[in-house]
């Protein structure tokens, strides 16, 4: 009898101990939470994929951050979202201001640009506001089958991100190299010393009879891709953020895209 009572008491004691042991995480969690609620935890400001040199250039940083944070890659020809007509406002003049700073941009180009903007019928104008950047798309010329469009995107600080324009002028590879040099100088991206020329392959979508001059450069530190293409009377140039891995996979011309 005494032994049975002792055994029962031992079982009760063990069960009580086990209940305490199993419930032990509760007070430990509360203690840990108290520390969490009272301490100031460190926070990493940015996952710096760019070099310090690139981060020091506002435009380069802005482009890269937009790509990283908002996931927007503004390749030429990207789909634009319609916004109010009034957002057009002084947009052409801001574009003129930027282009006017480039030695490459002559009077003929400027006259053609102004003509296209002036002739663009209002229903075919569209614009989009991508946090810190504004893009415009104007349908300017009808060739009997489809409209040719004039597209450009500017940062809030008036830097041209990209531009696509139908032009009667013809450009050589040397012209495009000059265009890129001027673009880098105006945007301040020429401060980056690691720009390297890239071979751009003409893709199947471009006819054999077409005139296609493609030029591109890449900055590893800033992870920016600079391009200037002239294909069958259309001039396209601009800059976009691109990871090295993406660049390796990119063997299509931006014109085709």
């Amino acid at each position: 009898m005494k032994q049975k009572l002792f055994t029962a008491a031992a079982f009760l004691a063990v069960f009580a101990f086990l209940a305490l042991v199993l419930a032990a995480p509760l007070p430990l969690m509360e203690r840990s939470d108290e520390v969490l609620y009272t301490q100031v935890m460190p926070r990493q400001l940015a996952a710096d994929g760019q070099s310090a040199e690139a981060r020091s250039i506002d435009f380069a940083r802005q482009l890269y951050d937009r790509d990283q944070l908002l996931g927007i890659k503004n390749y030429a020809g990207s789909i634009l979202r319609l916004t109010d007509e009034e957002t057009l406002g002084d947009a052409p003049y801001r574009l003129y201001d930027f282009l006017g700073q480039m030695d490459f941009w002559g009077e003929e180009e400027q006259a053609e640009l102004e003509r296209q903007i002036a002739n663009a019928p209002p229903p075919w104008r569209s614009a989009s506001d991508n946090v810190g950047f504004s893009a415009w798309n104007l349908s300017t010329t009808w060739d009997g089958e489809h409209w040719f469009s004039l597209q450009w995107e500017l940062s809030a600080e008036g830097q041209l991100v990209r531009m696509r324009m139908r032009t009667p002028l013809e450009y050589t590879g040397q012209d495009l190299e000059h265009l890129m040099d001027e673009y880098l100088a105006v945007t301040g991206l020429d401060a980056l010393e690691d720009w390297q020329a890239r071979e751009v392959t003409v893709q199947l979508a471009v006819d054999e009879q077409s005139t296609a001059v493609l030029r591109a450069r890449y900055s590893t530190g800033a992870k920016l891709y600079l391009y200037a293409n002239y294909v069958d009377g259309t001039l396209v140039f601009g800059v976009c953020p691109l990871e090295k891995e993406e660049l390796d996979q990119l063997d299509v011309s931006l014109t085709e895209k």
């Binding site: 935890m41 400001l45 944070l69 946090v131 810190g132």
Partner: protein
């Protein structure tokens, strides 16, 4: 406490501690992982919101100036874009809130504390039942400094941990209940041989040596059970032997007492007659003769008994090569009255390893017994020959023979097939007992073959020796 509950409790304790430690570790790592994920996600979201505010406000700058209303308006539009389901944000300038979609439960001083902590800090704040991560970042637009303070609801991370704890607690309890039941069954099964052993031990303690545990398991408990069974079997044999010895000793004492009493009764009877003095000289002479004869019997009995006791005490003999023919000749010489009956056939070259005197005693006793069997041909045949088992000495007679039922007992002390005739022939019942003991000391046994009315053959194997 018995062994089974002890083992079960130990298993439960160890398992409980292991489960608690494992569960605690799981909760901790799971919570830390979820918290880190939430922190990474929210830091990214805050960076995104800061970027949006910075660049969104830049667009609103006209003539290099940014109006207060423009900031409020952009805050609202950004608020719609970001969404307020998991917290909210506020835009501050000079510790004054321009726009806020922060949860009402969050006090302003906590928001200001986040601004004070700076751009590289993250605070965790409890507001009501909810928990928020607070982060603040400065935004410079048109020469003005603004602060974006974001609050992200991380209550789910803590709630998930509590839910997991409750789930784990229930699982651990169920696991312990199952493990306890399984352990109780397993332990009971494992200690079953021990229970049997205990039962058998009690039986042995109560004097019952017949119980066996009969365990088949090959573990230590099984080995212990088998050892116990072997031990009880040995003890049982020893006890049987002891009981047998005691029984034989009782029988010996009874036989000895009887053998002592018979001559003593005769001596006492005749001495009483002599004391009465009423006997004629012839009767007196006969009474004295009786007394003398019985005294001689007693002397002979005590002599043989002493010899047997001496042989019983003796563990082994020093055996020497002895020519068997010489032993048989000595025997014949020591029994002159029986010499005419003896017919001895023995190769004179046969040599055996023996104690010569004892072997002669053995043969003498066998010859006397054979002669007392009243052989029809008045002959006692003694033969010796070589076999593959050594030298066989054979003493045979064609006398009355021994009943089969008596054969197993004839080497017991004081055992006599026909007591009255044996006594009449001056037998003591000690002769064959002495012979058996001598044979055993020679590393052999006596083999009796007998048929009633036809005679008896006694055989003894001896080791061959070389002179």
């Amino acid at each position: 406490m018995k062994l089974a509950p002890k083992l079960v409790l130990t298993i439960l304790l160890l398992l409980g501690i292991l489960l608690a430690a494992g569960g605690g570790w799981l909760l901790k790592t799971d919570f830390e992982r979820n918290f880190d994920q939430a922190r990474t996600r929210n830091i990214l979201a805050h960076r995104r919101d800061t970027y949006s505010l910075q660049n969104g406000l830049l667009v609103k700058v006209s003539d290099g100036m940014l109006s207060r209303q423009a900031v409020v308006d952009y805050g609202e539009s950004l608020g719609r874009y970001v969404g307020q389901e998991e917290g909210g944000f506020a835009v501050y300038q000079n510790e004054e809130s321009l726009y806020s979609s922060l949860p009402g439960a969050l006090e302003e001083q906590e928001v200001l504390r986040a601004i004070e902590a700076g751009e590289e800090a993250l605070l965790l704040q409890k507001a009501g039942e909810s928990s928020y991560m607070l982060m603040a970042s400065g935004v410079q637009v048109a020469g003005e400094e603004y602060w974006l303070v974001s609050a992200y609801d991380v209550t789910g991370v803590f709630r998930a941990r509590e839910d997991k704890f409750q789930e784990l607690f229930r699982l651990e309890l169920a696991a312990l209940a199952l493990a306890g039941t399984a352990a109780a069954l397993a332990v009971n099964w494992m200690i079953r041989p021990l229970k049997k052993l205990e039962k058998a031990s009690r039986a042995v303690a109560a004097g019952d040596y017949t119980l066996s545990t009969a365990t088949k398991s090959r573990d230590e408990v099984g080995a212990l059970s088998r050892s116990f069974d072997a031990m009880t079997a040995t003890v049982r044999d020893k006890v049987d032997q002891m009981e047998d010895t005691i029984q034989r000793q009782k029988q010996f004492v009874a036989a000895f007492t009887h053998e002592l009493k018979t001559p003593m009764t005769s001596i006492l009877g005749y001495s009483d007659l002599l004391r009465s003095g009423e006997m004629d000289p012839e009767d007196q002479r006969q009474a004295v003769q009786y007394i003398h004869r019985e005294a001689l019997r007693l002397e002979m009995l005590s002599g043989k008994l002493m010899q047997l006791m001496g042989l019983v005490e003796q563990e082994e003999l020093t055996l020497e090569p002895v020519r068997l023919a010489l032993v048989l000749r000595d025997t014949a010489a020591s029994l002159p009255e029986l010499a005419p009956m003896l017919e001895i056939r023995c190769d004179p070259a046969l040599t055996v390893l023996a104690d010569r005197d004892l072997l002669a005693d053995l043969v003498r006793n066998l010859v006397v017994n054979a002669a007392r069997a009243q052989p029809k041909d008045d002959r006692v045949h003694i033969t010796a020959g070589r076999t593959e088992n050594g030298i066989v000495l054979r003493v045979a007679d064609r006398g009355r023979g021994i009943p089969e039922a008596d054969l197993p007992h004839i080497t017991e002390p004081f055992y006599m097939v026909d007591k009255s005739r044996a006594r009449a022939q001056n037998g003591s019942g000690m002769g064959l007992a002495l012979c058996a003991r001598i044979a055993r000391l020679h590393g052999s046994e006596l083999h009796f073959t007998s048929k009633l009315g036809q005679g008896t053959v006694v055989e003894l194997n001896l080791q061959e020796g070389t002179v």
